[in-house]
Structure formats: structure tokens, C-alpha cells
């Protein structure tokens, strides 16, 4: 593993922490006051900061630090997490996410926004309560003046400063003789109980200069009075060093609270001589080499008991061992069991690090899914050929094959489940969208989510974010009324947008409900007439009017707002949902709001399809597109124009499209009475009857990309391999329908290559 991989892990972790942060903040927003929630939120920011520091992501560290400081105030109950406070924090979480993304992918962050939030956060840390409305309208000017002055005095806003000893060395005049310090070091018993060791401290000290050590044993009591863990020795060290007193103190950094440490500078030789004469001290050569032999030597010395050590206390090296003995005493006892313990260690370590999840490269999963797809196909081919060659039909091979089929299906389901992920991350991203748009529009909005743990294929999740974002923007921008208007209507001034996900008959259904004004049908109708989408006297049902908003280039907002009206309409949303093999529908009640309902397949790797024959070719029509199938009767077929034909279905006419003709499988239109009509619903809500020669059956097929293996073919979405080993093409219903409107498939291809 190298640094880049760890960095990758860091960003993955950031994403998790950001999700944790947001959900925690939302819990607090809902009135949760569990200290653990606050702690989790704090930890999330703290972890991001810690990792970011290690990678030198300074912008991220700086912002996380301010954020963390404010969260610390909440954690220590200095700051009440009111709605207004949380509003700032949620926005800060968004900025933190932006900064993380910028750090990962490059790009920039809206600096004025993050600066504004830094000021707001600092203001909160200083006990300033934000003005509810000011936070929305003008965050930057509000906080500017008073906070800047206070910031430097922030006691918890401590910034670690890189500290280097080189600075000291550089300042010394090169010619000057090294100053000599006299260091008195008297450890207390606590020093040893915290795992520090006098010998190691002295060894460290020896590394910063030439020194001589005198060990004072005056305080060592008689053996029977001795506490084996007491501290009876102290040392006087004379050291020549260029590191200064600070450098010496640095050595004792970990120990200075648990010892008496006195450092005196000996001005010159005379002073030093004086000092020497004042103290009954004889420098003793100090053998530190014993330490470098490591624990093996120390542990081998198992027979050295305390008494022996004391008896030999006139040499410094023995003193060292005794000092160490207090710390190592317990260790020796366990030496015998160490080997046995070591054997268990690998396992223990494994157990320790194995969580409930593993991270796997997506490529590996995809490769597995692909292979399982092949397996399913192979199994189908095998059973088909066995059935064809088996006359009595009851052989044990057949039984085995059935079991095999069941197993492969189970394997396929399990493998698909690996890719399945909860929709939670997408839903959480929507919370941010709602906040941002609520801020911009000045509306007050609450996002309620349900069924966030509903699982669906990762590809579906990834592609869901964009249409959902767009729909949420629409719901808040166009759907919800302004707070004043809502109050006038007797509604809660705070609008609610509800996002739910659930599984229903092998698909995932996502619903977006708002409690706004609902669709203004008269306005939609006028607009559709103005845009030539419908004729002025068209008689449309409410549902049909509602569905007009899915038409290309349709926007009911009077002025194109900055948010939802970027030339991207609901038609794009519908198309992206359909591209995922899904459907979208709308229901709306004037004054009560609208509900958009999307039904999506759980996976994009397999498809439920109708296998049909057209001009001797086998095609697969996605089942999601088919509304019904019917056997046309001669009486219901009507000619229209030169080549067009219509079929009358329950008193309405529907264009009849010969798939074989559109795909150029045959030159002449087939006789509709000899075939089967598939009533399909295509993009734009229009219905068409697709003529095919025969229906072979309905089955689940594994999708194989045609683009990846061959090239794009107009009218064909993908390919699959059937049980008999033949390749079948999967029909692109929308393209076929579009072609039937007069634009031929060839044209579309030429357009595609130009544009």
C-alpha cells in the first residue's frame, strides 16, 4: 500500500464521515440531544481534519478546524444547538463536502461562501446567536466586523506550529564554544507508572550532546524499607549541547510533570569548576550501550532481583537495570507464555480488523457479475440441448439440470445483491439540494425521507442523483408556495418535500411528494397550446394535462428562474429515468401538492423481456415498455395516408408500426392480421402498436452491450445471448417509435455522427 492508496481510502472515509456528519446534524435538528450524537458529529469532522492534515490539505484542515471548534462548544454545552445554529452547521457540512471534493478532484470552492461560514462558525463559538433571517440573506457582512477582532484570542483555536530544532542551531555563532548545562533529574514513582523510563530519557539526552552523569543513591533506603516500585535515585548530568535549555526540556517533554527537573546554564569553565566543587559529584562513565542491545538482554536478565541491583548500585549501569526492573518486572513473568500468545496473534489481529463489511474494487464485482451472466446463459444452453436430445424427459440429467438452474439463478441474485446499495447516500445529497434551493428561493422547506435503506444496483443509484436533484428543485421552486402565501392558505409556512423509496414487485419505487400548490392545469394547458403541443380545442383529461409537463421544452414558471429553468425540463428527467429502464408518472391535486412516482429496475445487468420473432430474426422487447399485447383483427386495421396504418383499440386509434420494416428486415410491410401487436408506451407518453410476427415467450435476459463489443446500431439498445446460444437483439423501443414518426433510423444515425 502506498500513500496514494491511503489517500484514496481517506477520501472514501471522508464520504462516510460527511454522511455521518449530515445525518447527525439532521438528528440534532429534529431535537435529538443525545450526547453520543454530538460526539459522532464532532468525531466526523475531527477525523476529516486529522486525515487532511496528514496529506497537507491545508484548506480542508483550516475549515474543519473552525468547524470542529464550534462543534466542541456544542459538545461541552457552551453552545445550544438551536435550529439557527444547526442551519449554519448544515451549510458548513456542505462546504466541508465541497472542500473535500475539491481536494480530491481539483477544482475550486466558492471561497466567499466558505469564508462567510468560517465567520459565522467563529461567531457561534464566541457565543453570538445568529439572527434567523440574516443568516439567509447576508451572512458575510453580518459577521465581518466584530469577529475578526476576537478570533486571535480564541483559546481553543490553537493552531499547531511546526517546530524544528534546526532553528536553534542556526542562531548559534559557529565559533562559540558549546554551553554546558547542569541538569538535575529526579523522577517520581509516577514517572515509571506511566511507562516512562529514566534510562531511556538519559539515553535521549545523550544524543543531543556530550555529557557525564552522576547517579545519586543517597535516598536509597535499607532493603526491608524499600518499596519495589518507589523511586529513590536521582541523577545530575553535565551536558555540552547547542540545543539550549529548551532542547533539554524537549527530551523530558513526556516526563517533566512526573519528575523534578532543574536545568542550569554553566556560564564558563570557572563557574563549572565552582559548581563541581560545590557538589559532591564525581562524573561516572555512563555506559548506554546496554540499552541498544534491546529487550532481549534485559529480559535474559531474569535472575537479577531487586536486592542484587541495589547491592551493585555504585555503578550506573546497574542502576539503569533497576530502574528498568520496575517497568519490566511484570513482563518477565509473561515471557514463557509469549510464544503461545504469538501463535494466536495473527488470528487475533484478523479478528480485530475484520469488520462486518469488506471493500472490493468495483471492477472485480463487475467481472464476477459478467461471468455469472455467462454462466446463466451457458446453463440455459445446456438445458435446452439436453431437452432437445432427450426423448423420455425423465432422466436424472433433467433433474440435475433443474437444480443447476435454480442454483445459477440463486448465484445470480446473490451476485447482483453485492452491487445493491441503499439509496441513502443519494437521499442525503438531496437534503443539501433542498437546503440550497430553499435558501435561494426564500422558502422554508423540510425534507422527509423514508425507506433510505432500500437497496438498488449501484449504477441505478449513481444515475438517480441527477433526475432526483432536478425534480427536487422543481418541487421546491415551482411546487411549494412562498411562506406568506402558505400561511394565507392556512398551510404550515414550512413546506414539506417527502422522498420515499420502497421495493415493489421486483422493482424499486421512488416517490417525491410535495405539499405545494399542485399543477396549475389551466396554465399548463395554455402553455401547451402556445407551444403547439396540443390544439386549442383538444379535450384532455387531468392526467393527460399533468403529463404534458414531460414534453420537451416545457416550463410553466413565468420567468425562467436561476434554478430549475435551465432549459432542462421534466422531459430530460423522464428520459433519464427511461434510460434506466424505469417509468415516471405524476399525480397532482390542486392546492394539495404533487407526487412524482418512479419505478426502476433493481439492476441494469438483466432485463425482463418479451422474446419475439420479426422476419425470421429473434428480438427482445423490454417488458417495461409493453402495455399490452393483442392479436389484430382485419376489421380494426385502417389505412391512413400512403403507407401508414392505424389500429383501433377500444375506440381510439393508434399508429401501427411494423418493426421489420423500420429495422429494414423486409422491404414490404407485413400483413398485420398474421402477426401480433405490442402496445408500447414510449417517450412523451404516446402509444404505438408495434407489429411483430410472433411472440416466443417472456424471459429474463442478460444484457450485453452492443456498443462495447461492436458499435451502436440505430433502433437496437443492446444484445443478449439466448438459451440456444443465438444472439438476440434488444429493441430500443423509443428509437423505433421515433423512427415511425417519419424520421428514419438512418437519419438519426447521420445526425448523431454530425452532432
Amino acid at each position: 500500500m502506498d500513500m496514494n492508496e491511503i489517500k484514496e481510502i481517506f477520501f472514501q472515509e471522508c464520504e462516510e464521515q460527511l454522511a455521518e456528519l449530515e445525518s447527525g446534524l439532521l438528528k440534532l435538528n429534529d431535537g435529538d440531544r443525545d450526547p453520543e450524537t454530538v460526539n459522532a458529529v464532532f468525531r466526523a469532522v475531527h477525523s476529516i481534519k486529522g486525515g487532511a492534515g496528514a496529506f497537507g490539505l491545508d484548506d480542508l484542515v483550516a475549515f474543519a478546524h473552525v468547524f470542529e471548534t464550534t462543534l466542541d462548544c456544542v459538545r461541552s454545552n457552551k453552545l445550544e444547538p438551536t435550529q439557527d445554529v444547526l442551519k449554519v452547521m448544515l451549510k458548513s457540512a456542505d462546504v466541508l463536502a465541497d472542500l473535500t471534493n475539491a481536494a480530491r478532484d481539483g477544482g475550486s470552492v466558492d471561497e466567499s461562501r466558505s469564508r462567510g461560514l468560517v465567520k459565522e462558525l467563529e461567531a457561534l463559538a464566541h457565543g453570538e446567536v445568529p439572527a434567523p433571517s440574516a443568516a439567509v440573506e447576508a451572512p458575510v457582512p453580518k459577521a465581518a466586523a466584530p469577529v475578526v477582532a476576537v478570533a486571535p484570542t480564541d483559546p481553543s483555536g490553537f493552531q499547531p506550529i511546526p517546530f524544528s530544532f534546526d532553528d536553534f542551531g542556526g542562531e548559534d555563532e559557529p565559533a562559540a564554544a558549546l554551553p554546558t548545562y547542569e541538569v538535575t533529574f529526579k523522577p517520581r514513582a509516577e514517572l515509571f507508572s506511566k511507562g516512562n523510563e529514566a534510562s531511556l530519557l538519559l539515553r535521549d539526552l545523550s544524543r543531543i550532546g556530550e555529557m557525564s552523569i552522576f547517579c545519586n543513591t543517597d535516598d536509597v533506603p535499607a532493603l526491608h524499607k524499600m518499596d519495589p516500585e518507589g523511586s529513590y535515585l536521582h541523577w545530575v548530568i553535565s551536558i555540552k549541547t547547542d540545543k539550549g535549555e529548551d532542547g533539554i526540556r524537549q527530551v523530558f517533554e513526556f516526563a517533566e510533570w512526573d519528575c523534578e527537573l532543574d536545568i542550569k546554564l554553566q556560564e564558563d569553565d570557572a563557574a563549572s569548576a565552582e559548581a563541581d566543587s560545590e557538589l559532591p559529584m564525581i562524573p561516572v562513565p555512563f555506559d548506554l550501550s546496554i540499552l541498544d542491545d534491546g529487550p532481549a538482554v534485559a529480559e535474559a536478565d531474569t535472575s537479577a532481583d531487586v536486592a542484587a541491583a541495589v547491592a551493585a548500585a555504585d555503578t550506573a549501569s546497574n542502576v539503569m537495570q533497576m530502574a528498568g526492573a520496575a517497568a519490566r518486572g511484570e513482563k518477565k513473568e509473561s515471557a514463557a507464555t509469549a510464544a503461545a500468545a504469538a501463535a494466536n496473534n495473527a488470528q487475533a489481529a484478523n479478528n480485530a480488523s475484520a469488520g462486518q463489511t469488506i471493500r472490493v474494487d468495483l471492477d472485480r464485482v463487475d467481472r464476477l457479475i459478467n461471468l455469472v451472466g455467462e454462466l446463466v446463459i451457458n446453463q440455459a444452453m445446456l438445458s435446452q440441448s439436453v431437452i432437445e436430445n432427450d426423448n423420455n424427459g425423465t432422466s436424472s440429467i433433467n433433474m440435475g439440470l433443474e437444480e443447476l438452474q435454480q442454483l445459477t439463478r440463486e448465484i445470480q441474485d446473490s451476485v447482483m445483491a453485492i452491487r445493491a446499495q441503499p439509496v441513502k447516500p443519494v437521499f442525503q445529497r438531496m437534503a443539501r439540494t433542498v437546503r440550497e434551493i430553499a435558501d435561494i428561493t426564500g422558502k422554508s422547506v423540510r425534507l422527509v425521507t423514508e425507506g433510505e435503506n432500500t437497496e438498488v444496483d449501484k449504477t441505478v443509484i449513481d444515475k438517480l442523483a441527477e433526475p432526483l436533484t432536478h425534480m427536487i428543485r422543481n418541487a421546491v421552486d415551482h411546487g411549494l408556495e412562498m411562506p406568506e402565501k402558505r400561511v394565507a392558505l392556512g398551510k404550515n409556512p414550512e413546506g414539506t418535500v417527502k422522498l420515499t423509496a420502497k421495493h415493489r414487485s421486483g422493482r424499486i419505487v421512488i416517490e417525491l411528494t410535495d405539499d405545494g400548490a399542485g399543477i396549475n392545469r389551466e396554465k399548463v394547458r395554455q402553455k401547451a397550446i402556445a407551444n403547439d403541443l396540443i390544439s386549442a380545442d383538444a379535450n384532455l383529461t387531468d392526467e393527460e394535462i399533468d403529463n404534458l409537463i414531460f414534453h420537451a421544452g416545457f416550463s410553466t414558471a413565468d420567468k425562467v428562474s436561476d434554478l430549475s429553468g435551465r432549459g432542462v425540463g421534466m422531459d430530460v428527467v423522464k428520459r433519464s429515468i427511461q434510460a434506466l429502464g424505469g417509468r415516471i408518472s405524476i399525480s397532482s391535486k390542486p392546492g394539495q401538492g404533487s407526487t412524482f412516482s418512479m419505478s426502476l429496475p433493481l439492476t441494469l445487468a438483466v432485463l425482463d423481456g418479451m422474446v419475439v420473432t420479426v422476419a425470421g430474426q429473434t428480438l427482445v422487447v423490454p417488458l417495461t415498455a409493453i402495455v399490452e399485447t393483442l392479436q389484430p383483427e382485419a376489421s380494426s386495421i385502417h389505412s391512413f395516408g400512403a403507407t401508414q396504418r392505424l389500429i383501433s383499440i377500444r375506440n381510439s386509434f393508434c399508429p401501427l408500426v411494423d418493426v421489420g420494416r423500420i429495422l429494414n428486415f423486409r422491404a414490404m410491410q407485413a400483413n398485420p392480421v398474421e402477426g401480433v401487436a405490442l402496445l408500447v408506451e414510449s417517450e412523451g407518453g404516446g402509444q404505438r402498436a408495434l407489429m411483430v410476427d410472433a411472440i416466443q415467450g417472456q424471459r429474463q435476459v442478460v444484457i450485453k452491450s452492443l456498443e462495447a463489443n461492436y458499435t451502436h446500431v440505430p433502433g437496437i439498445a443492446a444484445a443478449t445471448i439466448l438459451g440456444d446460444g443465438r444472439v438476440a437483439l434488444i429493441l430500443d423501443v423509443d428509437a423505433v417509435v421515433a423512427a415511425s414518426r417519419g424520421q428514419s433510423l438512418k437519419q438519426e444515425m447521420s445526425l448523431a455522427s454530425v452532432g
Binding site: Q12, F158, G195, F254, W257, A296, A326, E330, N345, A352
Partner: protein, 121 residues
């Protein structure tokens, strides 16, 4: 003989960094994700030195250090605190809990190895 280090940190990033740094420096590394797990694996892994974070779920670094010091077998083991909390109050609390020393983040491999070598023979 390789020295064995037990690291306790809830951040996957930091855990990985510790692992790489310590392994490169020739230590054997055993990792736990929080204080509770740290105390659980302590007996089995029999470390020579412990490096722990402070802010962790379930059981924080202070609690973990106190737990280690209460263990008769490990009460004198060197424990280094890996922390961004550089203010004196937090250091003091870690010290009272029984920490041997500390390494202030941002994570720096040289500082880490230095500090470990300072407290282990």
C-alpha cells in the same frame, strides 16, 4: 525480535498510515478501531508499546489508557497518544489517565517513529 505496536484509532485513514509507517520501520503492528476493541485485543497481542487516538466512539482514548493501566500486566507499558488536541488541558488529562507521551497530528511518520523509539528500549 520485532517490536509489537498496538494502535487504536477509529479513522481508517490514520489506521492505514500507522500500519504502513510502522511496518516500514520494522514494527509488527496490531490495530484496533476503538478503546473497547483495544482492551479486547490487548491480552492476546501482548504489545511492547501502544499508540492511541483520543476521540473515538464507544470508549475514548482517556478511558482506554485508564483501562490499560488497571491491567496488572500492562500497567507500565508505554502508551503514546496520537492527537490533534494540542492544548495543555487535553494533554494533562491524557497524562493523568496514564499516557507516557504524545504525538501531535498532523501525522508525521518521522515524529511517530521518533516518539516510539523514545519510550521503548
Amino acid at each position: 525480535m520485532k517490536k509489537r505496536v498496538l494502535t487504536v484509532d477509529d479513522s481508517r485513514t490514520i489506521r492505514n498510515m500507522l500500519l504502513v509507517t510502522l511496518n516500514n520501520a520494522g514494527f509488527e503492528t496490531i490495530q484496533a478501531e476503538d478503546g473497547v476493541e483495544g482492551l479486547e485485543v490487548l491480552e492476546d497481542c501482548n504489545p511492547d508499546v501502544i499508540v492511541t487516538d483520543i476521540n473515538m466512539p464507544r470508549l475514548d482514548g482517556f478511558g482506554f489508557i485508564e483501562g490499560v493501566r488497571r491491567n496488572e500486566k500492562y500497567r507500565a507499558i508505554p502508551i503514546l497518544v496520537l492527537t490533534t488536541e494540542s492544548d495543555a488541558e487535553k494533554k494533562n488529562r491524557a497524562r493523568q489517565a496514564g499516557a507516557t507521551g504524545w504525538i501531535v497530528k498532523p501525522f508525521d511518520p518521522t515524529k511517530l517513529i521518533d516518539a516510539i523509539e523514545r519510550v521503548t528500549a
